[in-house]
């Protein structure tokens, strides 16, 4: 796989520089901690929201900082949780009187780094709470003790919590809200190709021309199974069934449906997938109140997609519909 890059070791910092230069009025960039934060923060009337995570999932997380979304991200290298010190330093920089909320994708590295960063920040008297996001149904929770992964569903947690934070919700309320969104969100993904970390130069896994991997993670982790490539509709059927049975989602539910690209999937294919998924979700008797088609949480240059369903209630729907402003925009 080829890449448009210079020195692989500078991949993350050069990307972050680009984000900062493209948004110089709204974002601040502190290279030392791979830190992108709102230029107008912190705000003592609002809880500050931080997500760390490794790089390689763009637009998550560096490109979704802004009004109504994250207050800051401090990214690690590609697919590596940020160093604990980045989290500590970032927490200090964004600390607000209302506290700091961490939205942590459930990976060992991220959890440990945030835990350590939090200990350091709390020692400085900063009030911190954390929500662990684990929406990936591909990982069976009971079998492996680290639990499920956080994947594209993190968008919904960020969006809802971000909107509520702008409205002045307390740290406790936001923590509860975040957990509520996590509990209502389920995702499953698949890949047509593996992804290639810049420093590695080779795909983490390779698939034959007639193969696909079902249940992949967003770091090139292999999935549940490797099977023959099927039609788009068959794939949607399989992912949707896994997602629906897990919560479970039921006839009468009001939902948000997301088709998320893994990084190298053309938007044409994502809409093709959406069309069929929409019909199937409606056939199950659910009502789609909001939909999302595009790249939200990717795995570098992986071809593939994930399907997310969120069970909505009026409050959640309202928070998802609230305005927000981030680097990712069309105009």
């Amino acid at each position: 796989m080829k890449k448009l890059m210079n020195d692989p070791k500078k991949f993350v910092s050069e990307m972050l520089k680009g984000v900062a230069l493209a948004n110089s009025k709204t974002l601040k960039y502190i290279p030392e901690y791979n830190l992108i934060m709102r230029a107008d923060g912190p705000n003592d009337n609002k809880v500050s929201i931080l997500q760390g995570s490794g790089s390689g999932h763009e637009p998550a997380h560096a490109m979704i900082v802004g009004y109504g979304m994250l207050d800051a991200v401090c990214q690690g290298d590609v697919f590596a949780a940020p160093p604990a010190d980045y989290i500590y330093q970032t927490t200090k920089l964004i600390a607000s009187k209302k506290g700091v909320l961490y939205l942590i994708n459930n990976y060992t590295g991220d959890r440990m780094a945030f835990e350590m960063g939090r200990e350091m920040a709390e020692a400085d008297g900063i009030e911190v709470r954390a929500v662990i996001i684990d929406d990936d149904v591909a990982v069976k929770d009971s079998l492996y003790t680290v639990g499920r992964r956080g994947v594209a569903g993190n968008f919904f947690v960020i969006k809802a919590v971000g909107a509520a934070a702008e409205r002045g919700a307390s740290l406790e309320a936001l923590e509860a809200l975040g957990n509520r969104v996590v509990a209502a969100t389920r995702t499953m993904g698949m890949a047509l190709t593996g992804c290639t970390p810049p420093a590695k130069g080779k795909p983490i896994f390779t698939l034959a021309e007639d193969e696909m991997e079902i249940g992949i993670g967003i770091h090139g982790e292999p999935g549940r199974k490797r099977v023959k490539l099927a039609s788009a509709n068959q794939i949607v059927d399989e992912l949707l069934a896994s997602v629906v049975e897990d919560l479970p989602f039921k006839a009468g539910d009001e939902v948000a449906l997301m088709i998320n690209g893994m990084g190298a999937t053309p938007i044409s294919e994502l809409y093709l997938l959406y069309g069929y998924a929409h019909e199937q979700v409606e056939k199950l008797g659910m009502t789609i109140k909001r939909n999302y088609v595009g790249n939200y949480c990717t795995s570098l240059d992986m071809q593939g997609f994930s399907l997310t369903l969120v069970k909505l209630d009026p409050e959640l729907e309202d928070l998802l519909a609230a305005p927000a402003e981030i680097a990712i925009r069309t105009f």
């Binding site: 690690g76 290298d77 697919f79 604990a84 350590m116 492996y144 003790t145 420093a199 770091h219």
Partner: protein, 208 residues
């Protein structure tokens, strides 16, 4: 053991980690995400860069300086695990200027405790602990038998290697490899192999 010996060990570790960057990453790539070598190498590069400026006024201070670099600059599980290990060792040695064999074992034990506190891994979960703990046990046994450092480290390196190899049939229960479930069986744990490679390198350096 003096700061000199400690310096030799850390320097050997750094050189070895940098030399094995790709190898370690490849191991991590089989069922993990292939960045283990990269992450560690970036951290120990800084250790070497800052070498002359590191506070080596005491073994404890020296280890603290290393841990600060690792925690501050290495991402992923490894930043925390390895950083915590150095920090715990530093704390164990406190104000000591001379480091006894007992101190070495105590430092290692404290490091393992720290790793377990952070990562919640048990022996057999297919992590670097599966090479590290048996190697420490061997080191302690050799010391208790009155062997000299040189042969004790050599014996520990042999055990570390055997134990790393023994991770092959294990099912990963921690770290990213655990997402692969049954598929993690049949491949070596990257962290455990790194522990073996490092013990071997230190053993070789000790002899020279």
């Amino acid at each position: 053991m003096e700061t000199n010996n400690l310096a030799l060990i850390v320097r050997t570790m750094a050189d070895t980690i940098i030399a094995n960057e790709n190898y370690f990453s490849e191991l991590d790539g089989v069922v993990g995400d292939g960045d283990f070598g990269y992450s560690l190498a970036r951290g120990f590069e800084i250790v070497l860069q800052d070498w002359d400026a590191l506070d080596n006024s005491s073994p404890s201070h020296f280890l603290k300086a290393i841990s600060t670099i690792i925690i501050g600059r290495v991402g992923g599980v490894s930043g925390i695990i390895w950083g915590t290990a150095f920090l715990r060792a530093s704390m164990t040695l406190a104000t000591k200027i001379e480091v006894s064999k007992e101190d070495v074992i105590a430092s290692f034990r404290n490091a393992v405790e720290g790793i377990q506190k952070r990562g919640q891994a048990e022996l057999g979960d297919k992590t670097l602990l599966d090479a590290l703990v048996p190697a420490i046990n061997q080191l302690e046994a050799s010391f208790q038998k009155g062997e000299d450092s040189r042969s004790a480290i050599e014996a520990a390196a042999v055990v570390a290697r055997q134990s790393a190899e023994a991770t092959r049939p294990m099912l990963a229960k921690r770290g990213r490899a655990s997402y692969s479930g049954e598929r993690s069986i049949g491949s070596l744990d990257a962290g455990a192999v790194a522990v073996a490679v490092l013990f071997e390198a230190v053993s070789k350096a000790w002899k020279a």
